[in-house]
Point group: C2
Chain length 382, copies 2
């Protein structure tokens, strides 16, 4: 078991009607002017925008709207928002939407107080020492961003999908109301399931120090995701089950699953980020393709943990059986497991490999994942 | 799944040498004068006192010593410390010791800023709105106090062992260094194991709403405790295993195991507090006596969850088998399971029952646990 720091000051407000508390929390922090970030107009049609804006307005908080954040959010949008925040003397960012909106909000919050271009913070040219406070209502359970200090944004010019991470980026308050997630489509539900599982297994399989306790937490997350996804595909209105799904998503990436572990990395995310950056595929769909392919290549390096996975998740015996069971489960719920399902063919591999290698440094995997290795992994997904 | 708030801002510094960081964190909060609370002189002989005081002194922080906190800590000691804190203009409390010292530190921190007698805060006559910041180095894994906002203290005059709970009582920084716990005796190791299991099962069995995910976290905690206790009894120097034991202790009572649950209560703690208050038995030893007795009485009220417990913890089938297995495990590791092992006999039951009923209000169980019921539970432990 290795040394660690665990610090997670985000207040989670989970459940029915909790979005109505947002104004109260923002006001308690003495904030008078916020930017309300969102994606499409869907949250206006559903009434959620009005609920949140109303909760803020009731406390006398001035709201500046900033809509149009897209999934796989882009740095140009973040730059535009930062200009508006500075011009309007805005004191905090409120995100209403999924992980893309929240990740953008974090980048805006950090970029506003950084003296330089915000992309510097993603490529290590600048350090995040402070950020505006961020509050959020999360409408899709997957990214885990609601309880961690990281954000992922794509630079459309350089075709890089990279992340920021720093303590000032922990949301002050995150609202998780499963009822607000009913409108997530079946496609995005199963992509989310893949995303949560990916967040869980990266550390579980790659850590050089992996105590039993964090392994058990990971297995709790994955078993919950498998169980609840199957129920939600049948009955999307079951808020109790959607709540368990959502909370498992949060737990998968709030730091708990990594306590006491060390030497872990995020190779599946590294490879998937290139699929998203180059082909704009949904992150979870890319991950369900990459994971089984990566696992087939990686499992001989950590057979004990793969055997454990097979047993604890699927009640099976060998590493291979566990991997096939996961792949079959992805197929059954309807998230892709082959590059061809994403419209990507063998001829595209060199471009993907090149993009992966360009990002390997940011993932701490330069030299570890060579072009040959990445090619071999991608070939497993053809 | 029920609505919940999860908020836990304590910074955990876990591992080797982390106690040396304490001065840095206290200084970062702008604090110049602390009271350093501890129990016996053991921490002076071991050098830990000097390490912590040195870490504070290096940062120019003035240290006032306050030793002599006993296990099952008493309110008279807390009152004495509050006087000294006020007289010396102390700005924060540093606790070095086990849960008893830390719980006392929390009571001192709250009592100092309360305009009245500190016991008011335990009996609901006063409300904790603020407290001095608390920092700690925990030297025994059991109470979970290092990552929660509660503290338990005994009033020697009224013979009540009651608790306080409020957000200002979350420690700012808690150091958990397994190497500092090597000196815990085998007796206290097994009492601690019982204590951690008790913290885990109260909600698990009593909640009227109990989603699968928190059940899985509880089972992760208990399985880790069982596995690591057995190893530590053979090899107390194994810091990796002691680390997993310690982190499981923290996780058992940091709020995670209760997320989404509701309607839970702490009947085992309620009954045990009376054993501690009347006979000064170690808390964990009292709990390992109370738990199987309570489970035998309670299991027909929640057979499904008891069946789950039997299966997930011991690989067995029926509620009865699970309870007997736990009782046998307690016997095997050497923590008591009978009142007679605590020197308590049948003639003592009326006095215990009377004490329990006097505290039932504070546990929210007045009218639920009648004298007849408590007697029946205690009779199971004769």
């Amino acid at each position: 078991m290795d040394n660690f720091t665990f610090y997670n000051p985000t207040r989670i407000e989970f459940g029915r009607d909790k979005e109505k508390l947002l104004g109260q929390y923002v006001a308690a922090d003495g904030i008078r002017k916020v930017m309300l970030c969102y994606g499409s107009d869907r949250i206006k049609r559903s009434g959620l925008f009005d609920t949140v804006a109303g909760s803020l307005g009731e406390k006398g908080i001035e709201v500046t709207e900033f809509g149009g954040v897209v999934s796989n959010p882009v740095i140009s949008t973040v730059r535009k928002a930062i200009e508006s925040v500075r011009a309007n003397g805005i004191e905090a960012i409120v995100s209403v939407g999924g992980g893309s909106v929240l990740d953008s909000a974090k980048a805006i919050a950090a970029g506003t107080l950084y003296d330089g271009d915000v992309w510097d913070l993603f490529i290590g040219k600048g350090v995040i020492e402070k950020a505006l406070p961020v509050y959020d209502v999360i409408t899709m359970a997957a990214s885990g961003s609601e309880m961690n200090p990281t954000g992922v944004v794509t630079n459309e010019e350089t075709r890089q999908k990279l992340f920021i991470a720093a303590e000032p980026l922990f949301p002050r308050v995150s609202v998780i109301n499963p009822a607000l997630m009913r409108s997530v489509t079946k496609d995005y539900l199963v992509y989310s399931a893949a995303d949560i599982i990916a967040h869980s297994i990266e550390g579980y399989f790659t850590a050089s120090v992996q105590p039993h306790f964090p392994s058990r937490i990971v297995e709790s997350v994955i078993n919950t995701v498998i169980e609840t996804t199957e129920i939600l595909l049948e009955n999307p209105e079951n808020d109790d089950v959607r709540g368990e799904f959502a909370w498992a998503a949060t737990m998968a990436l709030n730091g708990m699953t990594l306590t006491g572990t060390s030497g872990y990395s995020y190779p599946n995310h590294m490879i998937e980020h290139s699929l998203s950056a180059l082909y704009n595929v949904p992150h979870g769909a890319g991950l369900s393709v990459v994971m089984p392919a990566w696992m087939k290549w990686y499992s001989p390096k950590n057979p004990g943990q793969f055997e454990r996975f097979a047993k604890k998740i699927f009640g099976l015996s060998t590493p291979e059986e566990g991997i096939v069971a996961l792949e079959n489960w992805f197929n059954r719920i309807g998230t892709p497991t082959r590059l061809s399902q994403l419209g990507i063919g063998e001829k595209d591999l060199p471009a993907i490999v090149e993009n992966v290698l360009a990002n390997a440094q940011a993932f701490g995997l330069a030299g570890v994942y060579t072009g040959e290795i990445v090619t071999r992994i991608l070939e497993n997904a053809l």
